[in-house]
């Protein structure tokens, strides 16, 4: 084929131009470390990379959520740990004060320490979460949630439960609202309570109470009335449900409930049996304080005091169990967060590997390609120089 002089040059220039543009492209890949500079390099790969980017960013956010949640739950757990310790101390002191040999003064001294413990428990309930909000206030946590005074416990928080996502499709609940931890505690044995009538004149004391047959308990209000050595069990409509002779220390059973009364009741003395209401832990401690500060000289006063301490310790035990349950709940959530952490980490590694395979340049391949192109360009340039000065005109004249 006939080749004109111009086309010889054009061909050589084209060849060198192609090599140069390839070199420029590879050099940019090596410099940025990215195989794709825009979606045109690999549209499907690029859009996949965009989606994976989003997934990686989401995982990071979940990680942030997990950290915040973990800190709050651990803080709440530590606070409740302290509260548990204080409740144990209150129980110990109350048992001590129930000792019959203590004088009123000694009991009042114990009551003083109980007051300190109560204040400490209120302070724990008002723990701050470190960011200017309060840990146990639910979502109305801008102000301290709890106050306890003469009129009882007041709660300024709400019952809203927050959740946060710590992994895809995994949401974990935040710290329980304070109402559920400190206020909604069942008294008695959890199902029913036995309380002496305040007007009792005798010296009957409650020794033990138990639910022996839960299916027979109907949740109604009953009264056990003592009269002349006998007892009668009346329901809310004053119908007699059970009766018998009273023997101190012998169990009285009705409707699946068993109570043991000791001592000498006066005629008309009554013990009320009713479904257990809820009571806040602060009132529980306050009840014990009130019981210890009341003078107990006469047998009747002593019996009343002993019954009050019995009731208080029962309620306190429920409170301690309740707090432990809440802590177990926190523990379970912390466990979930830990598992989510592991899952997120594994997921993150997978996603980042995928991203790298899509986007990153294979240095070995790119560098060998670079060498190839460089060799080709050098060959093209040198061969061009050799050829271009061959001309017949050089030999004329």
């Amino acid at each position: 084929m006939r080749v004109s002089t111009t086309s010889l040059f054009q061909q050589a220039l084209l060849g060198m131009g192609d090599r140069t543009s390839n070199l420029a492209r590879i050099q940019q890949q090596l410099a940025t470390g990215l195989r794709m500079s825009s979606a045109a390099s690999d549209p499907v790969g690029w859009s996949t990379a965009v989606a994976v980017d989003r997934a990686v960013a989401e995982l990071e956010q979940f990680g942030g959520n997990a950290t915040i949640l973990r800190n709050r739950l651990e803080l709440a757990d530590a606070s409740l740990d302290q509260v548990g310790d204080r409740l144990s101390r209150v129980r110990e002191l109350s048992l001590q004060a129930a000792n019959g040999t203590y004088t009123d003064d000694q009991r009042r001294a114990i009551a003083l320490e109980l007051r300190q413990q109560l204040r400490a428990v209120v302070d724990s309930a008002n723990t701050s979460d470190g960011t200017g909000r309060y840990l146990f206030g639910g979502s109305a946590d801008a102000v301290p949630p709890f106050a306890f005074g003469i009129s009882g416990a007041s709660y300024a928080g709400d019952q809203n439960r927050r959740s946060l996502e710590v992994a895809p499709e995994t949401a974990v609940e935040d710290v329980d609202p304070g109402s559920e931890i400190f206020l909604r505690i069942r008294t008695g044995d959890g199902t029913f309570v036995v309380r002496q009538d305040p007007a009792n004149a005798g010296a009957a004391t409650l020794r033990a109470t138990a639910m022996v047959d839960p299916s027979a308990w109907d949740g109604g209000d009953y009264r056990v009335v003592f009269n002349a050595g006998n007892y009668q069990v009346l329901d809310a409509a004053n119908a007699v449900v059970g009766a018998g002779a009273f023997v101190a220390g012998e169990p009285i059973e009705f409707r699946g409930v068993r109570i043991i009364v000791d001592g000498a009741p006066a005629n008309g003395d009554t013990f009320a049996v009713s479904p257990a209401p809820t009571q806040d832990v602060f009132s529980t401690i306050q009840n014990l304080i009130d019981a210890l500060e009341t003078p107990a000289v006469t047998p009747s006063q002593r019996a009343t005091q002993r019954n009050a301490i019995y009731a208080g310790i029962e309620d306190l035990t429920r409170a301690q169990e309740h707090i432990i349950d809440r802590r177990a709940g926190f523990g379970a959530r912390l466990n979930t967060i830990e598992q989510a952490d592991a899952g997120r980490e594994a997921n993150g590694v997978l996603l980042k590997t995928t991203l790298s395979e899509l986007r990153d340049v294979d240095y070995a391949q790119a560098i060998s390609q670079l060498n190839l192109e460089m060799t080709a360009l050098q060959a093209a340039q040198q061969s061009f120089v050799r050829i271009q000065n061959l001309s017949l005109f050089n030999y004329l004249g």
Binding site: R2, S4, S38, A40, R54, F62, I68, N160, L164
Partner: protein, 630 residues
């Protein structure tokens, strides 16, 4: 008798002209578009002197132009394709880089915004988290605006380029017409004397024309070249050149459409079918630029509407229901410049799932309105009557008609193309961000039953009593009243709806148990709405609810990237073909310096020999004279 002198001088003249032709070739070896010329020799007739014929020398029959018209026409077609693809490829690559680059694309700011919503959900009461969320919202809005502005800039640039091209084309057309006249005149003087240089010039201009607009040619008998567009419109006929004009688009004075000015008025050149750079420009605007703007605008519209709807379902730090967070430009309706009626439309997006974004033409035939897709003419279903109570609805856009239209009035509806350019964040106070649920539930502490109440969710944020306090009281273990109404039967876990919210109760209840639903107060750290805002990007929304916003962002990048890639590959292929054809042409018409050098030597030798012949003739004559002298 033909004598030596005349033979010799004919030879001298002939070889002189041959050397001139060769030196012309050498001089023009690097001239682009030059076709090498060759002088054809022929012997002059012989004279009969009796015993035979004696030749009378040599003459130049013709100076031939070595051009293959078929190769030239293939080169023209290739130039048209290459011009079109080069424009398409370079402009598409610019948009592709704009959208792909993390510093100018949408994917990163959208992802950052969703991340900021997630952060807000983890610390709703923190002013830092709120400010950060607002900041990311503003970055996202600014990015939409900037990107849309750049695309608008490309629209303007395309218009300017088209106008410049049209000017250049018109100049070329006039030049071709003039050259046609000159070639015809030159050929009329003698058909053996083709005006080679004029032909080269004309071919070069037609080649440039083809690169610019894509032409086909038909040679006329007199030597003139008639030039037509790829679709058959005449551009140059003989000595008359038509004028191309870039007239304002009837729906948008900022855009141009191509028309040919003829004696009978302007003829519209459709944007499809044109080749060359002009065709590439129009194809780019129609197939890459407009769809890109429309899709990005659709994303902006869907995003703003969805986020706003979710935001209105929450309460802010002041305890008020959330307001509008983002605004975008509503769908634009422009009237055709030939309309005679007084009608106008107010448009809004009513159904994101049905939103497409491509331009729609609305025409009034005197009695009713119809909607077709602009460009393809495909009929689209449109319901409604155009009143406020019953607006026209077409592809997710609601239109309310104002004024009266005259028959054959037409309007162009662009549902989403302008949306991104007007994206603004309406909230400036971070405490106005609605991160909390509007209602909260609680169970009375004195309840003796073991039932618990869940978190309420919002069904209808526009219900006026949404935030009125409501009590659910159990009259017995199996029945409850709501706000005094009822009683209703209690099913554990079944949702209870009232006043626009919904809540579920679990567990056994006892008579007297009370549960309350009330408004979320100010300064709440509830995160319910913030969590829903964070999930906005992954819910199915577009295309009938099958595509989420995060997927759509990736889809837009992929679509634009594919267009750019296709154009690049096609251009590379065409470039290779073009190079091959060029080499073919060069092989036929190009100057080879070695060949010319050899020819030069040959003719030089021949010239010297002919000069010797003259010298011999002179010697012969001198001898004769000397013989005759006395």
């Amino acid at each position: 008798m033909p004598d030596i002198l005349s033979t010799g001088s004919s030879a001298l003249l002939a070889f002189q002209r041959m050397m001139a032709t060769t030196s012309n070739n050498v001089a023009n070896a690097n001239t682009p578009g030059y076709t090498r010329q060759r002088a054809l020799l022929g012997s002059r007739g012989g004279q009969d002197i009796g015993p035979g014929y004696v030749g009378s020398g040599v003459q130049i029959n013709r100076i031939e132009r070595l051009a293959d018209d078929f190769v030239i026409s293939r080169l023209r077609d290739s130039a048209s394709e290459l011009g079109r693809l080069s424009q398409l490829s370079s402009l598409s690559s610019r948009i592709d880089r704009m959208v792909s680059d993390p510093a100018s694309g949408i994917a990163k700011p959208l992802s950052d915004f969703l991340d900021a919503a997630q952060s807000l959900s983890s610390q709703p009461a923190s002013s830092a988290a709120r400010s950060d969320f607002l900041g990311k919202a503003q970055v996202l809005a600014a990015r939409f605006r900037t990107l849309d502005g750049q695309l608008d800039g490309m629209v303007n640039e395309s218009t300017r380029r088209a106008e410049t091209l049209v000017d250049g084309i018109n100049t070329d057309l006039r030049e071709v017409a003039r050259l046609n006249g000159e070639v015809v005149r030159a050929l009329a003087l003698g058909s053996n004397a083709p005006p080679n240089d004029l032909l080269d010039q004309r071919d070069a201009i037609v080649q440039r024309l083809s690169q610019r607009i894509g032409v086909t040619v038909a040679a006329q008998d007199g030597g003139a070249l008639n030039v037509f567009t790829n679709t058959g419109q005449a551009l140059v006929v003989g000595r008359t050149a038509s004028t191309l004009a870039a007239t304002p688009d009837p729906y948008d004075p900022g855009r141009r459409e191509m028309s040919l000015q003829t004696a009978n008025g302007p003829i519209l050149l459709g944007s499809s079918g044109l080749g060359g750079e002009l065709g590439g420009l129009l194809e780019f605007a129609r197939d890459v630029l407009d769809p890109a703007q429309e899709r990005l605008g659709r994303l902006a519209t869907a995003f703003a509407q969805t986020v706003n709807a979710q935001h209105r379902e929450g309460v802010d730090y002041y305890g008020d229901l959330g307001g509008e967070l983002f605004t975008v430009t509503p769908p634009q309706v422009s009237a055709r410049n030939s309309n005679t009626g007084t009608a106008g439309f107010t448009a809004s997006v009513s159904n994101i799932g049905a939103l497409n974004g491509a331009a729609i033409e609305l025409t009034f035939n005197g009695a009713s309105w119809s909607a077709v897709r602009q460009g393809t003419g495909q009929a689209l279903g449109m319901t409604g009557t155009g009143t406020v109570a019953d607006p026209f609805v077409v592809e997710g856009v609601s239109l309310v008609l104002n004024g009266a239209a005259a028959a054959s009035d037409a309007f162009l509806l662009r549902p989403t193309a302008a949306a991104g350019g007007g994206m603004q964040v309406q909230i400036t106070d971070p405490n106005r961000l609605a991160a909390a649920n509007p209602v909260r539930s609680s169970a009375a502490v004195a309840n003796t039953g073991a039932a618990s109440i869940g978190t309420p969710s919002v069904l209808d944020a526009t219900n006026p009593s949404l935030r009125a306090p409501v009590d659910i009281v159990f009259v017995d273990a199996n029945n409850y009243t709501i706000d005094g109404t009822g009683p209703f039967a209690y099913t554990q876990g079944a949702p209870i709806s009232y006043n626009g919210w919904q809540v579920a109760l679990q567990g056994p209840a006892v008579a007297g148990d009370t549960f309350s639903i009330g408004p979320t107060p100010p300064r709440s750290s509830d995160n319910g709405n913030a969590r829903l805002l964070a999930a906005v990007g992954s819910g199915g929304l577009l295309d009938g609810g099958t595509v989420s916003m995060s997927s759509d962002v990736a889809g837009i990048s992929a679509q634009i990237g594919s267009s750019a890639r296709r154009a690049d590959l096609a251009r590379d292929a065409q470039s290779t073909i073009d190079t091959q054809i060029q080499q073919e042409r060069e092989s036929i018409s190009g100057v080879n310096l070695d060949e010319e050098a050899a020819n030069l030597m040959r003719f030089q030798q021949a010239y010297q020999a002919a000069a010797q012949v003259i010298a011999v003739a002179d010697t012969v004559f001198q001898s004769l004279l000397a013989a005759m002298r006395r």
